[in-house]
């Protein structure tokens, strides 16, 4: 069968060119360099370098600190994504129902969006300062023996709290616009058919929000993996005992602070693989359940 061919115009290529160039310069090229570096033992200043096959990967995978960090990253990302989506969905649904003073509620809930992750980290760690942090003193005063400086679970709680707080407002904006995008006719028809608001939410509203939820899940996981770096760096620096070091933070410590090029490149490549697998999984298995 002969395929129908239209006359090619170079114009479309011209339009996508800027995007392609940006991706090539800021992603493909550095990624290729990281892969190349991950097979080398090279001194920081590039005066000598040798090809060592998988030595860097072996060293990384046999390092208990890296394994601990990988495990923490998984837990942390799951907690941050699930909690920030759940809380913001709840808030969006409630804010959507408010009639009086709706604007004020919405503005206040979106406010946190303007805060950069390191600033959020700083705010959080000041509130948890053992000598004068209000939250720290409050939690201890109500009889809970809380010490994030020494206890790994408490420290995890602190970084999750900061990361979720920072992300809730972003999710809130998306959910709110998603809710407002649901046609009035649909909700009204549902109200006639079913008395239970909870049931209406789970059978009508939530499925209609599924594309938004899916999108936010992807965004939130990326956020938890990468963008929380600023929070960790400013608040715990991975303490206690490396219990709150995400993989990105570990790459930074070994590569940027420690000047171990090969080792940190191998870590980035492993991280890249992990995120790729996660992305494929999300789009192949979860997106199927989403109806647009």
């Amino acid at each position: 069968m002969k395929r129908v061919q239209f006359g090619h115009s170079p114009v479309p290529y011209l339009f996508v060119a800027p995007q392609i160039i940006i991706i090539a310069i800021f992603f493909l090229w550095p990624a290729a360099q990281a892969i190349h570096q991950s097979f080398l033992l090279e001194d920081a200043f590039g005066m000598s370098s040798q090809f060592v096959w998988f030595r860097n990967f072996e060293d990384v995978l046999s390092n208990p600190a890296w394994l601990r960090s990988a495990w923490f990253t998984v837990i942390f990302s799951a907690l941050v994504a699930v909690l920030s989506i759940a809380i913001s969905l709840f808030l969006a649904v409630r804010a959507d129902e408010v009639i009086r003073g709706a604007k004020a509620y919405k503005t206040l809930l979106m406010w946190g969006y303007a805060v950069a992750p390191p600033v959020a980290g700083l705010l959080g760690i000041m509130m948890f300062n053992p000598l004068m942090g209000d939250l720290y003193l409050f939690i201890n005063r109500i009889g809970i023996n809380f010490n994030h400086i020494q206890n790994a679970n408490d420290a995890t709680f602190v970084v999750v709290l900061i990361a979720v707080w920072k992300q809730v407002s972003v999710n809130f904006i998306f959910f709110l616009s998603g809710l407002q995008g649901i046609p009035k006719s649909v909700t009204e028809a549902a109200t006639l058919d079913c008395k239970s608001a909870e049931r209406r939410f789970w059978t009508i509203t939530f499925p209609l929000l599924a594309p938004t939820t899916f999108f936010l899940m992807v965004i939130n996981l990326t956020y938890a993996f990468f963008e929380t770096f600023g929070i960790i760096d400013v608040s715990t620096k991975g303490a206690p005992g490396g219990a709150t070091a995400t993989l990105v933070y570990k790459v930074y410590v070994d590569g940027f602070l420690g000047a171990d090029m090969g080792g940190s490149s191998a870590q980035s490549v492993l991280l890249m693989i992990m995120v790729s697998i996660l992305t494929v999984f999300q789009f192949r298995f979860i997106e199927r359940k989403v109806h647009y």
Binding site: F45, G241, G258, D260
Partner: protein, 433 residues
């Protein structure tokens, strides 16, 4: 095409520069805030003192940021003339063969007289190679000191701060009764690991503390150091020792807010503390265990040194040498010492400070330099260990685990030994050929 434009621009830039007739010397450093002002002041003084060279200091953030910036710039063949590298990063830059121009060679080549014995004993060999040739110029040199709250000690009926840990053990219960934790400490890898070894004249690593070779192993896993940490843990459980995590500031704050009666910090902290403390405090030397090793011996210097990058013109290198000569002048050193609290690095500068009566008006400023001038032993000149930044990370993590009881002291030291030696092996494999 892009390249050509760039080169043309570079050529233009170079022409514009040579038209100026002064040679610019760039200096990347890690001194911000008040320290940065002092650095700028010194550069200004140098620039005014002659007309051939112009030193341009640029703050690149903290120690690690500065080193990273220097590495990136060197790889892009765009390195500054002078870079400030901190103690834990010294092995990285010194072992990168050909990246730096040894200070001693530089000074000797360009006519400045150089005698390593002009430098005070504690700082002389820290940034030298195994043969004793000075590679980096010690710049901001500090050493761990004990700071004590005079009111707190008086309240507990204590006359003098502890000279030894045995003495500390006796006074800690009294301080507790008076409502204080006896002690807090910032930067445990630096004070309770590195300087513990030096203070007691114990060997820190094989191969002459790492100076002779990169094929080296840590010797931290020894009974003396472990016993010390067992004591620290005991003190913590008794409420004699406050552990506020790895952050420098958090532990210092415990002292400033009068929760801890004493604090182990840096001699360089003095100026800042004087501004922020609302109580009268004094300084004393780092306590030691009587009967362990042959304490007391001098401590290591901490802080950072200045390195001259290779790959610059003869003219610029000459300017660097001239600037280094200016930096080591007694007047410059004395000014630096007075403004920052870092110790002067030459004997002449120390003498000048004494003659000027500086220590009469503020005797605390002398404690650091006195401690560095205490008799040295075989193992007090320093250490040279690769990937030491990561090794310190391991230590920080293990200290956390010892303090919260996740691990016993023995377990933690086993981890420090195995993980530390793995890092040293990696460094050796990377840098030895």
């Amino acid at each position: 095409m892009f390249r050509k434009t760039l080169m043309a621009a570079a050529a233009l830039f170079a022409m514009a520069n040579s038209a100026n007739a002064t040679t610019e010397i760039t200096w990347w450093h890690a001194m911000d805030g008040a320290l940065g002002d002092v650095v700028n002041h010194i550069a200004d003084d140098f620039n005014k003192s002659q007309s051939e060279y112009k030193v341009v200091p640029v703050n690149k953030g903290g120690y690690e940021d500065t080193m990273t910036a220097g590495i990136a710039a060197f790889r892009a063949k765009n390195q500054p003339n002078i870079i400030q590298i901190f103690d834990a990063g010294a092995a990285t830059i010194i072992n990168a063969k050909g990246a730096v121009y040894p200070v001693q060679d530089l000074l000797e080549k360009y006519g400045a007289k150089f005698d390593i014995n002009d430098y005070i004993p504690g700082v002389r060999y820290f940034y030298a190679d195994s043969k004793g040739k000075m590679i980096g110029l010690p710049f901001n040199s500090s050493t761990p000191l004990l700071y004590f709250n005079k009111d707190a000690l008086a309240k507990a009926g204590i006359q003098n701060p502890p000279k030894t840990w045995q003495e500390f053990e006796e006074m800690a219960p009294k301080l507790k009764e008076a409502g204080y934790q006896g002690l807090a400490e910032s930067h445990s890898p630096w004070i309770f690991f590195e300087n513990f070894m030096s203070r007691h004249n114990l060997q820190l690593a094989t191969a002459n503390n790492g100076y002779d070779s990169t094929d080296v192993k840590l010797l931290y896993n020894n009974e003396n150091l472990k016993n010390h940490w067992k004591k620290v843990k005991e003190w913590k459980d008794e409420g004699y020792f406050g552990y506020y995590g790895r952050a420098w500031g958090a532990n210092q704050d415990a002292f400033l807010q009068q929760k801890a009666a004493m604090w182990l910090g840096s001699s360089g902290s003095f100026g800042g503390l004087r501004k922020s403390a609302s109580f009268d405090f004094g300084t004393s030397t780092l306590p030691y265990w009587k009967g362990v090793g042959d304490a007391p011996k001098s401590t290591f210097i901490g802080g950072a040194a200045l390195f001259a990058f290779t790959g610059h013109s003869e003219e610029e290198n000459k300017g660097v040498a001239k600037f280094f000569e200016f930096l080591t002048k007694p007047q410059t050193q004395y000014y630096w010492h007075k403004e920052t609290g870092y110790v002067p690095i030459t004997n002449a500068a120390y003498e000048l400070a004494k003659k000027d009566g500086y220590y009469k008006e503020s005797p605390d400023a002398e404690v650091g330099i006195e401690q560095l001038s205490e008799p040295g032993g075989k193992w007090t000149k320093g250490y040279r260990l690769g990937y030491y930044v990561q090794i310190r990370e391991v230590i920080y993590a293990e200290v956390d685990k010892m303090m919260n009881g996740d691990e016993t002291v023995d377990q933690a030291f086993d981890v420090i030994e195995t993980e530390g030696n793995k890092l040293l092996k990696r460094f050796h494999d990377t840098y030895s050929n």
